[in-house]
Symmetry: C2
């Protein structure tokens, strides 16, 4: 039973109107325009979605975690049921290979189930109980209990490079729904069909679970007005975004300039510096170079965690690494990027870099002839560390299969480069145990520059788990205290609420004296599952 | 050994220069100008403080929690050693009564020791360990470990109304230092002498504990330029503020408009609605009114948690409550406020309210004759619920001993009033168990409006503990996800850092396989103190 795409926004149980501007998806592999026509939502539709979300919040936000868990698991099951249609449509809209998209469906469902488990177990709410001391002098201490509660309706922006895992039912949506927030998704216009399929699944799940309609809406827009309206809407209380620095910062600015500013969680570009230390270069240089090639061209280099800057000692280490990379890049066939826009931007940046004097092109792959526009060739650049230090634009993200090698002279120069980095999602160190012992200061610097440090591995392939951090100092993220991947991501969409001297029956279940949910709670500051 | 005040900023181990503008504290009880003269810091001094803080961060931020705990306890001990001088100077600068100030010294030291305990125990870092699965298909899972680390140099703004507990060594400073951040305090110009005494104590503690000098600086300024420079300084990574909505919002705007926006935690004004439900009014009306009088005039009404709006059913409940309050207010003698500025603003707002037609003055206390300017009389106003609903300015904070009664007609009208509230720090409900059962919807609305709900008590007297939440939706706080009181406050000044596939010896102690600190950690999502 394939779902028929209608090209209209899903607003609670309503459908968007036909009206306003329209657009179609374009297959990046062929340039072909795909059916159906999609209708951008109008201001009244955004309003309706926000109002329905606000109306549903008082119910949805107070449902037991188990009910929200069932909802999330229902979405996952239903996504799996339309797996074939999803992979087929997403493949046409993104040109991402089938295996990758199948993996992404799995990852999306895995994320939903992870958050389901987290809210079913319940301890994530950080229940805290400071018991009364009626005999305390000079004044008795009252009973005080607090926990995290949902923050309110959340706007989510679908990302272009993960049409499933960071899109309509992606990590932002899953974590916001898990915490108890209604979600309004602004679909990414590059994969509206995939978005509608997923939106349809979520809406069916809302109905199957008997939830109020406003828990979920999906809005289409080929431009920026729906997004701008969403982050400024008085009923929207937080937003999650994955995308470019330009778009992310523009939305962040709108969110914080509201009369009532709201938290805006933007995960933006990153160049993910990678350091090949001398011992590792000598022992493993070729293997590292081969794996590095695979990492920076994975998904045609369109990952937020693509290693884009590689620091390696001048001389033999650099020669070894660059020789292997040169071979790999030169023999690479072309890549298809997600959109013609991304392809154009990739070429523009490449031309600027090639035309300049700061970086040198070491190798270039061959082009893909059959491609109607969204194509790219792999590019290997190099720039001296001293040049890198005086040209901050060399650290800018070059989204696509491009990498910049930076040969350095001395450890002092390497440390200077590290100190000069702005925020990134990840940093990677390849080194022997001796390398690491000799570079303690490098590690200490990198801890302040990124959210995740990888040792002898590669930053692409972000594990979804409890310990993952996918965020970092600006401009990697707009809020350095958060992650957009992993179970910690739920904390973006929750706020603490405190109850003083409350009768048991008026307390949320999580805070009741008998601990009916058997959760871990902090009782007078100590972890406990006992009644308190 | 009394400390001699020098009137110069403390910048690491340096002293501020004599130059730039000068100011003196004024005793609000007498109008007398107090010695010595204080020198506002200049731009170069702010720069130096920021540079020293940044220089010390890599060391201080990586010290074991036990060392930071010793530092915090040293500050507490040394504050107690100068207890008499502190209370004497703070008394002259603020006109707060001696008992209150003695209590505040105790509270300040209690806060420092609470954070010392938290970081000594260590589990607050939320260590998370996802163990490797080398045999996972299709790809092995790497070992991933994450924890919270310090965010970087923090700017703290001293508050006028708590010269100790929310000032130089107050909750913001204690939580930021506990998490591993150097702190630069901008002293409140109303109590510079008290600030210098406390700053001196912190500096001595830095030296006693052998810490690098940049861990703490204290800057004086009678105006706004030091504060503005601090929140915009590239080396400052977060800021904590308690004060007015106007100043808080202005600083927030500067913080989020930086090229690299930083988290700004402003705790601003609040009017703290209080609801006396019918059953409670009938059974306990007089007692509630008497306690309410004590609460709204405590500290001359200069608490962020002062109950400023009281909703009570029209007719007998209102008559009973207002009669008692009228008696209390009419027979009140005058109050001395913290500064002549606060006093002028209190009178201006009162005159506006009295001169208008929206609220009616029910009673006024007598003035204090001997007062040179910073005086106020208690004021009791009333406004009909329908008037309140159509005049949002009636919900604005009136800082000082003033309260507004709002008689309502029906439960529906009461709910409408609750729904119309903006964010506050607290809400309070006085009710019988029956009242509470009949007002479930009120409770649900209030949960979205405030950070703490008090039942049959009063919001003033904020307990410092693990469960306390002193924050709320805007404009109570600039970040609804945080609290500025209690051990949860430490999370404002920390960020997660993740280590993938790291050798044990390169990991922070908190994440090592043997769990050498014996902390609670989340291992594959489950709390555990076992090696992992």
């Amino acid at each position: 039973m394939a779902i028929t795409l209608q090209g209209k926004s899903l607003i609670g149980s309503h459908r968007g109107a036909i009206g306003g501007s329209t657009f179609r998806a374009v297959a990046p592999a062929t340039g072909e325009t795909l059916e159906p026509q999609f209708h951008s939502a109008g201001a009244e539709e955004v309003n309706l979605a926000a109002q329905l979300a606000a109306d549903s919040f008082s119910i949805y936000g107070n449902l037991p975690g188990k009910v929200r868990a069932t909802f999330l698991k229902t979405i996952a099951r239903r996504l799996e049921e339309i797996n074939e249609q999803l992979v087929e449509r997403a493949g046409r809209e993104t040109a991402l290979p089938e295996a990758r998209l199948r993996g992404e469906v799995g990852r999306t469902c895995g994320q939903l189930r992870m958050f389901a488990e987290v809210v079913e177990e319940g301890s994530w709410v950080m229940a805290r109980i400071d018991r009364a001391e009626p005999d305390r002098k000079p004044a008795p201490r009252p009973d005080i209990r607090s926990m995290l509660k949902a923050i309110g309706p959340v706007a989510v922006f679908g990302a272009s490079n993960f049409p499933l895992a960071f899109s309509v039912a992606g990590g932002d949506t899953a974590s916001a729904l898990a915490a108890g927030n209604p979600v309004i998704v602004k679909a990414h216009p590059a994969h509206p069909g995939t978005s509608e399929l997923v939106g349809h699944v979520i809406r069916e799940s809302v109905q199957e679970c008997g939830l109020t309609e406003g828990v979920f809406s999906l809005l289409f827009d080929s431009g920026t007005s729906v997004g701008a309206q969403l982050v400024q809407h008085p009923l929207v209380k937080a937003a999650g975004f994955t995308g470019s620095q330009t778009a992310g910062r523009a939305l962040f600015d709108l969110a914080v300039r509201r009369p009532e500013p709201i938290p805006f969680f933007g995960e933006m570009g990153s160049t993910n510096p990678l350091f090949v230390l001398p011992g590792a270069a000598a022992a493993q240089g070729e293997r590292i170079a081969a794996d590095l090639y695979a990492s920076f061209t994975l998904g045609a280099g369109q990952f937020c965690t693509k290693p884009g800057l590689v620091f390696v000692e001048r001389g033999k280490p650099f020669d070894l690494l660059s020789a292997t990379l040169r071979d790999k890049v030169s023999s690479a066939t072309g890549f298809t990027l997600l959109t013609t826009g991304i392809s154009a931007s990739f070429s523009r940046q490449a031309a600027k870099r090639e035309g300049g004097t700061k970086a040198k092109l070491l190798a270039r792959g061959s082009a893909r002839a059959a491609n109607a526009g969204a194509s790219a060739t792999a590019l290997l650049f190099a720039a001296e560390a001293s040049t890198f230090l005086s040209n901050p634009e060399l650290a800018e993200e070059h989204f696509g299969p491009s990498i910049l090698l930076i040969p350095y002279g001395t450890k002092q120069q390497l440390l200077e480069c590290a100190r000069g980095l702005h925020g990134h999602l990840t940093a990677t160190i390849h080194g022997t145990p001796e390398d690491l012992r000799g570079h303690g200061e490098l590690l200490q610097i990198l801890e302040t520059k990124v959210g995740r440090i990888v040792f002898n591995g590669f930053p692409t392939g972000v594990e979804v788990g409890h310990a993952m951090v996918h965020g970092g100092p600006y401009p990697a993220s707009t809020d350095v205290r958060t992650t957009s991947v992993g179970s910690l991501a739920i904390y973006r969409f929750a706020r603490p609420v405190c109850y003083q001297n409350f009768p048991d029956e008026a307390l949320p279940e999580e805070l009741r004296r008998q601990n009916p949910l058997g959760m871990w709670r902090a009782v007078d500051g100590k972890p406990s599952r006992e009644p308190a």
